[in-house]
């Protein structure tokens, strides 16, 4: 960056001033003075040439660009002159900016998943929740269809409202049969969300009338993947669950609400309040202008009170109206996780800024003399400050640019660590510009504030003092500030490490949780039988039977069985039951209700604790039987044998509805590894006739060798039994477990990567300060050595300094971590947030890093040659 015209002007000014000087000399000589005297006198009269030049140049003004260029040139030159400082400070900043931005971007994308709908903050979910128990909006969308019909007719406060329920649909005739998640939605549903088809039309009220021709809307991914982006798809037929549907449109890319739906059908709601089974609908509304969720809640409650009662049950007394922002129901626990990760990001950013501040302060000390000299030469305070700010800005700009590149790469790398399929619209995740701007801003402020220190000091302290004193005497003044920064760094790093350690511990314990069954060697294949082709329980029983015959006889399989919802699966049916003899089960006591085929318990490796397990004889015609898990037996029949007792699944059991407990089995982790094992009741499939207990079936096979090798044969078996039936999922139980721990593993990895980074930065910080203090005290050390101090003494001296810095850091860090990790408690599994082992390990680790970081300078100090040291210091 050079400006020829400015160079020329500088040259001209120089020439002008020199001409002045020459003329003054000539005149004195002409008056008869000796040339030497004349020159001396003229020069004295003239003053300092450099100062005059500088002041004049300044006065010329307007050359801000020129001055900027000059400052930039000067800044680049000084930065190049101290490459160690430039590289370490630059890299720290770049890594700090890059890592924090990437981390925040990913965490934000994974956890917050901002809703891709226009004015999404006006969207709410509506439900009636039970009054008594804690209500989980995510797994319990709860407006029954008759309530919906009533609500839609009467409500006045919502601008739009729509209902939906999820479906699983088998698509045939477009490649292999495939099972797709879908949704049935009312005409207003898509409008409520603000979604319009990219092609074709949305549903109208006509589509909802019974007997209307079946129609479907396709998701963008399905349209591209299965129909080759056919531009003329609208109006053509697709076969869903064996029924022809007319495609009326395609919805925009990225839209998949609710529950990852890929296709949408009209929801036909019948308004009969006396239906025995009522669909539970997900109801979404858009608030009208000026309407608050509280008002909608009140309206929903009043409509429930006025509405018809169902089946004699006093529904209105037990249900409470709930209205919550849609976002809160989609993002579970995100606020907490986001807080934790944002905290981690903030800590690392703080540490890198502390490091850079430290480096700048050290540099400031070593530049004291330079600044004093420049001030003496007439550079004004503003000029010096401008120059240092320019220098900081150059460093910051370069680091910011590298940091932005690192952020982009970091986002890619972190997403590669993420569990596959968990992050929606992964391709669209770009670097979060707000986070980048924030990181850049914080680092800029640090750079400017600490970069200015030398200018402030140089212009504040009396000139002569600065020039006269050696750097050794001056630098001690901000040794304190640097020490505080290192203490802060150690403390911050410790907080992060403690968090990471706890997450890692939690993850390890989750991996080794007692499941209640033996996962090794198991494969599960899940199928969902469409109601259109499997109309009766008998058809489903026949299907199960045909499948099990083939699966049990595959080479390499020891046994096979079926269960409607296998452990660690996506869903589960839970419910209550009645006891014989008028005794009531505990209030709100629900158990997992499962149906299984004989041989399920030995195949899974679930221990039978009492009684017998199901046999082929427990068929539809035989007396009703049930097997309970240990938790049920202990809770309901404490101190006595459960076997022989009778229960019923019906609310008002008749004489034939009683089931005899024939056995007690071990409890099983039914859903998530981090949830407790839960009470369960098992019934034989053959004694079950309700379709929704039978249409989702998982076949479990125990293999002698690698369970993976059975998968092709299992696929063939299904094809033989029903070629039109799609597989919902097929995988080994070990893979299922891996998937359920994927999210905690991802979180543990993220925070782990982060804390390693923090540790590294803290190490650099400690090294820098110790190395500097050694260099600073070379003189003193030289004297000590000259007076007979041994190497050991010198090393001890340096290590003592490390202890002084590290111990307060550790103490403050432990206190901070104890406070901070309490936030983590809900994210942790089987680990207390103040786990002493983790804390001890983390403290030890940090102490080791500090020790290693200080060892290098300590060794250097011990090799100080007293002669050299004394000369340098004097």
């Amino acid at each position: 960056m050079t400006f020829p015209w400015s160079r020329r002007r500088d040259r001209e000014l120089d020439e002008e001033l020199r001409a002045h000087l020459r003329m003054a000399v000539e005149e004195r000589v002409a008056r008869g003075e000796r040339r030497e005297d004349a020159e001396l006198a003229a020069r004295r009269e003239f003053g300092n040439l450099g100062v005059v030049q500088e002041v004049t140049r300044e006065m010329r003004g307007g050359g801000w660009l020129e001055r900027l260029a000059q400052d930039v040139r000067y800044g680049v030159r000084t930065l190049r002159r101290s490459p160690a400082f430039t590289i370490v400070a630059g890299l720290t900043l770049a890594l700090g900016i890059g890592a924090t931005t990437a981390m925040f971007t990913v965490v934000h994308a994974v956890l917050l998943r901002p809703l891709p709908y226009p004015q999404a903050d006006r969207l709410v979910r509506l439900a009636y929740g039970p009054q008594t128990s804690a209500f989980d909006f995510i797994s319990a969308p709860a407006i029954a269809d008759h309530q919906w019909v009533e609500y839609r007719r009467r409500q006045r406060l919502l601008a739009r409202v729509g209902a939906s329920k999820t479906l699983l649909t088998t698509l045939t005739g477009a490649g292999d049969p495939v099972q797709l998640p879908g949704a049935a939605v009312t005409a207003g549903f898509l409008e409520t969300l603000g979604i319009r088809p990219t092609m074709g039309r949305a549903f109208s009220v006509d589509d909802e009338t019974p007997g209307a021709p079946p129609v479907v809307l396709l998701g963008d991914a399905l349209w591209r993947g299965r129909f080759g982006s056919n531009a003329r798809i609208v109006g053509s037929d697709v076969v869903l669950d064996g029924i022809r549907h007319i495609v009326i449109g395609v919805l925009p890319a990225g839209f998949s609400y609710p529950s990852d739906a890929q296709l949408w059908e009209p929801l036909v709601v019948k308004a009969s309040p006396n239906m025995s089974i009522s669909w539970l609908l997900t109801v979404v509304g858009r608030l009208g202008d000026g309407v608050t969720p509280a008002q909608v809640t009140a309206e929903l409650a009043s409509i429930a009170r006025a509405g018809p009662r169902r089946g004699g049950e006093a529904e209105r007394d037990t249900l409470v109206a709930r209205v919550v922002p849609l976002k809160d129901t989609i993002v579970k626990d995100a606020t907490l996780s986001l807080l934790v990760f944002a905290g981690a990001v903030g800590l690392v950013l703080l540490i890198s800024c502390a490091n850079v501040a430290n480096l700048l302060l050290m540099r400031a000390t070593s530049r004291q003399r330079e600044m004093a000299v420049r001030a003496a030469l007439g550079a004004g305070r503003r000029r010096l400050m401008r120059q240092l700010v320019t220098e900081s800005a150059i460093l910051w700009l370069a680091s910011g640019a590298i940091g932005a590149v690192l952020a982009v790469a970091g986002v890619r790398a972190l997403l590669a660590l993420a569990p596959p399929g968990r992050i929606p619209r992964q391709d669209e995740i770009g670097v979060d510009t707000t986070a980048l701007a924030f990181a850049l801003g914080v680092s800029l402020v640090t750079g400017v504030v600490f970069g200015l220190a030398p200018a402030l000091r140089a212009t504040r302290s009396p000139l002569r003092e600065s020039l006269a004193a050696s750097s050794r005497n001056l630098s001690t003044r901000d040794g304190g500030v640097r020490g505080v920064l290192v203490v802060a760094e150690v403390a911050l790093a410790l907080i992060l490490l403690a968090g990471a350690g706890l997450m890692a511990q939690s993850f390890l314990r989750m991996r080794h949780v007692e499941l209640g069954f033996r996962p090794a060697g198991l494969v599960t294949m899940t199928v969902d039988l469409p109601a259109t082709t499997y109309r009766s329980a008998t058809a489903m029983h026949a299907f199960n039977q045909a499948m099990l015959e083939r699966l049990a006889h595959m080479p390499g399989a020891t046994s096979a069985a079926a269960v409607n919802y296998s452990p660690l699966g996506t869903s589960l049916i839970r419910g209550d039951f009645q006891l014989e003899g008028g005794r009531k089960p505990p209030r709100d006591y629900v158990v997992a209700k499962l149906v299984v085929t004989p041989g399920y318990f030995p195949t899974m490796g679930i221990r039978l604790l009492a009684g017998r397990e199901f046999a082929a004889g427990d068929a539809a015609s035989a007396p009703g039987v049930v097997i309970v898990s240990k938790l049920v037996a202990d809770r309901i029949w404490p101190g006595e044998s459960a076997v022989g007792k009778r229960v019923s699944m019906r609310d008002r059991p008749g004489a034939g509805d009683w089931l005899t407990v024939i056995g007690v089995v071990d409890d099983v982790t039914q859903k998530r590894l981090d949830e407790n094992r839960e009470p369960a009741m098992y019934q034989p499939t053959l004694q079950t006739s309700q379709a929704f207990f039978l249409n989702h079936m998982s076949f479990v096979v125990r293999a002698t060798g690698d369970p993976r090798s059975l998968i092709p044969a299992m696929r063939r078996a299904l094809k033989e039994v029903d070629a039109n039936q799609a597989i919902s999922s097929i995988r080994t139980m070990d893979d299922t477990i891996l998937e359920t721990v994927a999210e905690p593993l991802f979180q543990a990895r993220l925070i782990g990567a982060f804390s390693v980074f923090a540790l590294l930065l803290a190490g650099i910080g400690i090294y820098g300060v110790i190395a500097y203090s050694v260099a600073e005290r070379t003189h003193e050390i030289g004297i000590r050595v000259a007076l007979g101090a041994g190497r050991g003494n010198v090393v001890r001296l340096v290590l003592w300094r490390i202890l002084i810095l590290v111990i307060p850091g550790l103490v403050i860090g432990v206190a901070g971590a104890l406070a901070a990790t309490r936030l983590l408690s809900t994210l942790l599994f089987a680990v207390k947030p103040n786990d002493p082992t983790t804390f001890a390990a983390v403290v030890l680790l940090l102490a080791c890093v500090a020790f290693v970081a200080g060892l290098l300078p300590a060794r250097r100090a011990s090799r100080v040659d007293p002669l050299v040291a004394l000369r340098v210091g004097g």
Binding site: E12, L13, E16, M23, F46, V52, T56, G61
Partner: protein, 121 residues
């Protein structure tokens, strides 16, 4: 003695005053920096000795504001010198500053030599 003079010239650094002196001096014809300094000294009967550190910044500032213009010329002893001359804008500025100076000195003179009080105090 020299010290006092230096102190005096420091006072003259008051902006405006130096500008007035430079502009007024340039009325007699174009001058280079050294010549100007000499002339100011001579015209003030050696009372004002303008620092180069004040003179050149002032010259360059005035040049930038358009009150004076500069050209390179060859001096008597054939060396390149930068010669400053008054521009029309500079003439106007001079007139304005002059009247301001007259007002100021009149006011100060009035303060220093108050007229005899009229009537009884």
């Amino acid at each position: 003695m020299a010290k006092e003079q230096r102190g005096l010239s420091r006072i003259e650094l008051l902006q405006g005053t130096l500008d007035l002196i430079i502009l007024q001096t340039l009325r007699w014809g174009p001058r280079h920096g050294y010549g100007l300094a000499q002339m100011i000294r001579a015209n003030s009967r050696e009372a004002l000795q303008v620092d180069t550190g004040s003179l050149y910044p002032a010259l360059h500032r005035l040049e930038r504001s358009g009150a004076i213009a500069a050209d390179w010329e060859l001096s008597e002893n054939r060396q390149r010198v930068r010669v400053y001359r008054l521009t029309p804008a500079g003439r106007k500025q001079l007139a304005a500053e002059r009247s301001r100076w007259d007002q100021l000195s009149e006011a100060i003179a009035g303060i220093l030599a108050p007229p005899a009080p009229e009537g009884e105090a």
